[in-house]
Amino acid sequence: MTNIEKYNNAFMESFEISAEDLPGLKYQDIDTWDSVGHMTLIAALEEAFDIMMDTDDIIDLSSYEKGQEILSKEEYGVEF
């Protein structure tokens, strides 16, 4: 599985949505991406890429696109 596939799967499984819902998706846009769903997403991303995210990055991950930007940072080194 490519990194973008892993990334998309984490979103789709955590929020029970499909691929076409992903672009532009923001925190609190849908019922399932609330503060509970957010921690589910973080756990899924950490599992998928075998990383541990900083608390500040967890809070800053406020959209589908922002998440890619954060995971691309040096300390996580995920290339999309």
Binding site: Y27, Q28, D34, S35, T55, I59
Partner: protein, 363 residues
């Protein structure tokens, strides 16, 4: 000063003069913001003949009784901007506070909490045992203060496990396996004071007599939610700590004080047993007969101010708790800011707190 600028300052680094200046500016801005955006708040200020131009110090800003958030729906944003409504913990039949959050205020709350708690636990996340049952965070529609507390602290957990099942029974095997798996790491424990005592401590004490023990000497416990029930069982803070140390070797224990009306600004107990105000908020004790400010060491009604709330007018509130400010900038732990203790609830006040409202069922 904007809140984002405030977030760049270490949370216990400002002395009395610097903090007072910062609070006067930020809380003055919030007072004017809520006056513009919240009609009810503007009318309250008008009723008090309060003019925002008269704010020489943040101590001059009127305080709203916390009860008002039960009786009135107070918000400074339009309904479509609200992303989360938080409710206070209440016993059955009690009315609850409703606190309306937009994206910005909700994010400030989380960022503030991270700054405060990291000062005590370090910034790295730890395997976490939540001393509660999983169902507390499942009902998303009604987000209680108890669920919000657990979720807020979950940020600090890397891997997580609930210590109790939905019948509040201790998951002995689960905890044992978890501790074995992470035996080389520091463990974070989080829960509410009464639940910890009733369902964790008492159970572990029983297990110890049966020869089953857990080693939590390399763990840190953060707990909050009220002492009323334990005080009525004559369990003091010292005894709470000593008892937990006795059954599982736990030695690093921090109580915290906070309320849903000012989520994010929690007051953590330091190594010296004092609750501390960070730069994000302050505690002022007031005399009950004229609401003048108490001296250090004098018991009074606790007023809390918070630099966070932009979506609801809750930046200056009068609680129903009594407390004593013990000092400022000179706690032996080295943290600047006021340090204080909470004595208890005012007489005839409602039962509040995640721990005490739950404990009300155990009468």
């Amino acid at each position: 000063m904007t809140f984002d600028e405030l977030l760049t300052i270490p949370p216990y680094s400002l002395d009395h003069t610097q903090k007072a200046e910062m609070l006067t500016e930020r809380l003055g801005d919030l007072t004017r913001l809520h006056k513009d955006k919240c009609e009810e708040y503007a009318r309250i200020l008008e009723g008090l003949s309060f003019d925002c131009a008269d704010i020489d110090s943040y101590l001059d800003i009127p305080f709203l009784p916390v009860r008002l958030f039960k009786e009135r729906s107070l918000k400074s944003v339009s309904d479509d901007e609200i992303v989360k409504t938080m409710t206070s913990s209440g016993t059955t039949g009690q009315s609850v506070s409703r606190i309306y959050l937009d994206r910005r205020t909700a994010s400030y709350q989380q960022k503030t909490m991270v700054k405060i708690v990291s000062d005590f636990t370090g910034s790295s996340r730890m395997p976490m045992i939540i001393l509660d049952c999983p169902s507390v965070v499942k009902n998303r529609a009604m987000f209680s203060a108890r669920g919000a507390g657990i979720l807020g602290f979950s940020l600090f957990g890397s891997k997580k496990i609930y210590a109790l099942d939905d019948d509040m029974k201790l998951d002995v095997e689960g905890i044992k396996a978890f501790l074995e798996q992470y035996s080389d790491q520091k463990i974070l424990l989080f829960g509410f004071t009464f639940m910890i005592w009733q369902h964790f401590y008492k159970e572990m004490k029983k297990l110890k007599n049966e020869g089953i023990t857990f080693d939590l000497s390399n763990a840190v416990l953060i707990h909050g939610g009220g002492w009323k029930k334990l005080a009525s069982e004559a369990v003091s803070s010292e005894q709470f700590k000593a008892s937990l140390h006795d059954v599982c070797g736990l030695s690093e224990i921090h109580d915290y004080y906070g309320m849903v009306e000012q989520t994010g600004c929690i007051y953590m107990e330091c190594e010296c047993g004092h609750l501390h105000t960070s730069i994000f908020s302050d505690v002022i004790t007031r005399r009950p007969y004229d609401f003048s400010v108490c001296d250090v060491g004098e018991k009074g009604i606790v007023q809390v101010v918070s630099t966070i709330p932009e979506s609801y007018p809750g930046h200056s509130l009068l609680t129903e708790d009594e407390g004593i400010v013990l000092g400022e900038d000179d706690c032996p732990c080295g943290r600047k800011g006021k340090y204080f203790k909470i004595i208890g609830r005012l007489k005839n006040a409602e039962i509040r707190g995640c721990s005490d409202t739950y404990a009300d069922k155990f009468k």
